[in-house]
Amino acid sequence: MIEGIWTLIGDDLPALQIAVPLLAATLCILVRRPMAAWSVAMVVAWSSFANAGVLLHRVLTTGTISYAEGGWPVPWGIELRIDLLNALVLLVVTGICAIVLLAAPRSIKAEIPRDKQYLFYATYLLCMTGLAGMTITGDAFNIFVFLEISSLSSYALISQGSTRRALTSAIQYLVMGTIGGTFILLGIGMLYMVTGTLNIVDLADQLALVGPNRTVLVAAACIAVGVGIKLAVFPLHIWLPNAYTYAPAIVTAFIAATSTKVAYYVLIRFAYSIFRINLTFDGTQPSAILMMLGIAAMFLGSLVAIFQDDIKRMLAYSSVAQIGYMVLGLSFANEYGLTGGLVHVFNHAVMKCGLFLVLACVLLRMRSTRLSAFEGLGRRMPLTFAAFVLGGLSLVGVPLTVGFVSKWYLVLGALEAGLWPVAVLILMSSILALVYIWRVVEVGYFKAPPEGADEITEAPVSMLLPTWILIGSTLVFGVWTSLSAGVASAAARMLIGGGS
C-alpha cells in the first residue's frame, strides 16, 4: 500500500509541499480546539520536513527537479523548480517550522488567549506555505504571490504579542514590507515588459538576448530594494528590532530563522539565475555597494546589540549583523563567499532559532526577557542557560560549532577576493559578538538570584527539547559539515558556473 501511495504522490511532492500546509491551515480554522489544531499543524509540519528531505535527496542524486503545475508546459505555466540552492533553503525552512512547533503550545499559553490559539496555528501554517512556496517556485511573479502570503501571515503573527507594542511593530512592519513587496512587483513588471516571460529560466535566456538595457537596470534596482527591505539589510532593517522584540516568543524564533533567509535566497536567485550578475551601474559594481552595506550591518548591528537591556532586542540586532555577514558573502562574488553566505543561512537559522527558543523558556518562567531576568539563571535554569551559552559561543565562532564554519568560508572568500581588510573586519565583529553574549553569561553565572524570587524551576520538557535539538545541532553540524557546507558549496559552484 505504501508502494501504491508512493507511486501516486511521488511525483507530486513539490506541489504537496505547498498544497498540504495550505489546506491544513483551513482545517485548523475548522478545528476549534487548540490541541487539535496543534496536532494538525504538527503532522503537516513534520511531513513537510520529511518531504523537504526527500526532495533534497532527489536533487542530490538525480539533479534539478522541474514540476509543471497543473500540467501546463513550462514557459507558459507556473513551474516549481528545485535545485541544490532551494532544496537546502527548503530543508531549513520546514525544519525550523517543525521544531519550533514542538515548543509552541506551552509558550503561547502565556501570550495568546485560549480561544484564539487555533487561529495562531492556522496563520503559522499559512506562513509556512508562503515561505515554502517562495523557495521552490520557478516563476518570478509566483515569488511575489507567496511573498505576500508569508508576509501577511507574519504581520498577523507578530501582532499577537502580549503587549500593545506588538500592534505598532506589526503595522510598522506591514507598511515597510508592503512597500518592499510592491517594489518587487514593479521590478518583475519591468522584466516582463522587456522579455515577455515570467519563468525564471526563460527570463535568464531572454535577458541574455536583450542585452544592456536601462529598463533592466531599473528593474534590478527595484527588486534589490524590495528584497532588501524583506531581508532587513542595513539600512532597510528598521522594522526588524521592533518586530522581533514584541512578537510572541515562538513567532520570533520562527520568523527570525526563516523569513530573512528566504529573502536572501530570492536575492541570490535574482542575482545569479536571472541577471547572471553581469550588471554594471555606470562603473559602480553592485557588489561594492552590497559589501559596504554588509560591513556596516556587521558592525552597527553588533555595536547596538551590546547596549541593549532587553535580550530579545539584543538578539534582534545580532540578527541584523548576521544578515550583514550573509550579504557580505554574496558580495564577494566568488565560490567561497557565496558558500559562506549559503551555509550561514543554515547555520544562523539553527543558532538564532535555538537562542530565541531559550528566550521563550526564560520568558515563560521569568515573565520578562530583560537582562535582570537572567540574574542567577545559571543556577535556577541550568539546562536553559547552558543552551544559551553554547548558542552564544556558536555566534562568536568557536571552532567545532556551526558559527565557525560560516566564518571560515567568509574569511576565505574575503582573502580569495584579495580583500584582507574585510577579513580583518569580519573577525573584529566576532569579538563584538563575544562582548554582547558574555554580558548575559556573566549575569547568569555571577549574579545571585534576586531575593524573594519564586521557586523558579527549569523550563518544561516540551520547550527544552526543541531548544536542545537546535543547540545540539549547532555542535553536530559544526563537525559534520557535509550536509550544510557540502550542499552549500555545491550550490555555490552551480550558481557561479551559470547552471540551474
Partner: protein
C-alpha cells in the same frame, strides 16, 4: 594498545575523570580519588605507551574526523608534543594533590566545578600537545580558554569577574583576530594546515608576508603573554593558587609558547626563517618582554603578582628560542618548557602554602617566615635557582641551550639579554628567600598563639608537592641529556 590509539585515548581520558567527579560529587574523598586515578593512568598511558614509540623515532597518528575539506581533526605525536604531554599529565597529578590540600585548607566552595574544569583543561592541553595540524591545535587552544575561565573566576567576586573579562577578552580576542586569520591564510596558501618537519610554507609565502604571518601567529597566541598582550596573566592571579600553578606551569601558558614553538618549527621551518631572517623582529619583541617583565616583577610586592611577571618574562625565553631559528635555540626553548614548568610550579605551590599556612600574600610580610616554614622556603629556594638558571637545577641546562642558540645565530645582544634577565631574576626571587631565612620575624604578626620558634608548616598536602617538584628540578638536571636526545628528533 597501540601507540596510535593511545594518542586518541590520552586526549579523551581526562573526560573520564569528569564522569567520575560528577558521579562522586557528594563524597569528596571518592571524588578526588577519581581525579587521581585518572591522572595516574593518564600519565601511565602517555609515558608508558606513547613515549617509547616517539623516542624510537615513531610518530603515532590518530585521525578523528574531517570537519571541512582540508580541515581535519587529527593527532600526531612528535618530540615537542611528547614533552608537553608528559609535563601536562605528570604535573596534573601533583597539582591535584596540592589542590586537595589548598582547597580544603581554604574551605573553598564549588570544588566539584573546580575539579571538572581542571580535567577539561588538561584534556585541552593534551589536545594542543598532540595536535597534528594548526586547526586541531586551534580547537583545543580555545577549549583551554573556555574551560579555564570558570577556574579564573572561581571566587565569584566582582574582582574575579573583571579579571575574567580581561582574561577572556585578551585570549579570545587575540585568537579570533590574529590566530584564526593566520590559520585561514595558511590554509589558503598551502592547502593544508598540517605540521610537517621542515615546515609547509617554503615557496608558498614570501618576503614581508612571511613576517606578517609570523606576527599573526605570535600575537594570536595570547597565552604566550608576549607584550602587549600580557595583561591577562597578572589579572588571572585572582584565581586560587592551584589554578595559578596550573595556568603558569601546565596548561595555559605552556600551551601558548608550545604553539609558537611548534608553528615555528613545523609550519615555517627553522631553515626558512633563518634564510629569510623573518623572525628577527620577534627576537626583539621577546627580548623586550623578557627585560620589561623582569623589571616590573622587581617592583611588585604581592608575591603572586611578582611570580606572574616572572612567568611573562620566562615565557619569552621560549619565544626567543623559537625566534632565533637555530637548532640549539629551538631545543633550548623546548627544554625550557619542561624546566620552567617544574620550577615555576614549585614557586606557586610555595606561594599558596604561605597563604594557607601563614595567611601572608606580600613579600614584605615574609620576614622570618622561613624559619617557621623551612620546607616551603627550601623548596622556594630550589625553584628560584631553577628559574634563575643555576646548577644543580634543570633550569641551568635550558638556559645553556638558549645561549648556545643565540651564539649560533650570531645574536650576541640576545646572550646579553639572557644574562641580564638572570641577574634581574636573582633580584626579584632571592629577596623572598633572604627575608624568610635571614630576617627576624616582626614581634607582633597577629599570630599570637604560635609565639616563639618552632616549625608551623602549611598542611602536609600543600608542602609535599612543592618539595616534590623542587627535587624534580634537581632530577631533571641529570635527565637533560635524555630530553636533548628526544628533542633532536624535531629538526631533520
Amino acid at each position: 594498545m597501540t601507540a596510535a590509539t593511545a594518542v586518541g585515548l590520552a586526549v579523551a581520558w581526562p573526560l573520564f575523570a569528569v564522569v567520575l567527579i560528577i558521579a562522586f560529587q557528594r563524597w569528596p574523598n571518592l571524588r578526588e580519588t577519581g581525579t587521581l586515578l585518572t591522572g595516574g593512568s593518564l600519565f601511565a598511558i602517555v609515558a608508558g605507551v606513547i613515549l617509547p614509540e616517539v623516542q624510537a623515532g615513531g610518530r603515532p597518528r590518530f585521525d578523528v574526523w574531517e570537519v571541512l575539506p582540508g580541515l581535519d581533526l587529527a593527532f600526531e605525536v612528535e618530540p615537542l608534543g611528547m614533552l608537553f604531554g608528559l609535563v601536562a599529565s605528570g604535573l596534573w597529578i601533583v597539582t591535584t594533590f596540592y589542590s586537595i590540600g589548598y582547597m580544603r585548607g581554604h574551605h573553598e566552595k564549588n570544588q566539584t566545578r573546580f575539579y571538572i574544569c581542571f580535567a577539561i583543561a588538561i584534556s585541552g592541553a593534551l589536545g594542543v600537545a598532540f595536535a597534528a595540524n594548526v586547526f586541531t591545535l586551534f580547537v583545543f587552544y580555545e577549549l583551554i580558554t573556555l574551560s579555564t575561565y570558570p577556574l579564573v573566576t572561581h571566587a565569584g567576586t566582582e574582582k574575579a569577574r573583571n579579571a575574567g573579562r580581561m582574561y577572556l577578552g585578551i585570549l579570545m580576542g587575540t585568537s579570533i583576530a590574529f590566530l584564526l586569520f593566520a590559520l585561514v591564510w595558511t590554509w589558503l596558501a598551502t592547502g593544508t594546515t598540517d605540521f610537517r618537519p621542515g615546515g609547509i610554507l617554503a615557496g608558498k609565502v614570501e618576503g614581508p608576508q612571511l613576517m606578517i604571518l609570523l606576527a599573526l601567529y605570535a600575537f594570536g597566541t595570547g597565552k604566550a603573554a608576549l607584550m602587549p598582550f600580557h595583561r591577562w596573566l597578572p589579572a588571572a592571579m585572582v584565581a586560587p593558587t592551584p589554578v595559578s600553578a596550573l595556568l603558569h606551569a601546565v596548561a595555559v601558558v605552556k600551551a601558548g609558547v608550545f604553539t609558537i614553538l611548534k608553528v615555528v618549527v613545523y609550519v615555517f621551518g627553522i631553515d626558512l626563517l633563518a634564510a629569510t631572517d623573518a623572525s628577527r623582529w620577534l627576537t626583539w619583541v621577546a627580548a623586550f618582554t623578557i627585560i620589561a617583565a623582569s623589571c616590573v616583577a622587581l617592583g611588585k610586592d604581592n608575591l603572586k603578582a611578582r611570580l606572574a611577571y616572572s612567568t611573562i618574562s620566562q615565557l619569552s625565553y621560549i619565544v626567543l628560542g623559537a625566534a632565533l631559528a637555530t637548532t640549539a635555540g629551538v631545543i633550548g626553548g623546548g627544554m625550557h618548557i619542561v624546566m620552567h614548568a617544574v620550577g615555576k610550579i614549585t614557586l606557586f605551590f610555595c606561594a599558596g602554602a604561605i597563604m594557607v599556612g601563614a595567611h601572608k600574600t606580600e613579600v614584605s610580610e615574609l620576614d622570618g617566615l622561613g624559619r617557621r616554614m623551612p620546607f616551603t622556603f627550601g623548596a622556594f629556594l630550589l625553584g628560584s635557582l631553577s628559574v634563575i638558571g643555576l646548577p644543580p637545577m634543570g633550569g641551568s641546562w635550558s638556559k645553556w641551550f638558549l645561549m648556545l642558540g643565540a651564539a649560533e645565530a650570531g645574536q650576541w645582544v640576545m646572550m646579553v639579554v639572557l644574562m641580564a634577565s638572570s641577574l634581574l631574576s636573582i633580584g626579584y626571587l632571592m629577596p623572598v628567600v633572604v627575608r624568610g631565612f635571614f630576617r627576624s620575624a616582626p614581634v607582633d604578626d597577629g599570630h599570637g598563639d604560635h609565639a616563639g620558634s618552632g616549625i608551623h608548616e602549611a598542611p602536609l598536602l600543600c608542602v609535599l608537592p612543592p618539595v616534590a617538584t623542587a627535587l624534580g628540578g634537581i632530577v631533571l638536571f641529570f635527565y637533560a641529556e635524555d630530553i636533548w636526545q628526544l628533542l633532536m628528533g624535531m629538526v631533520p
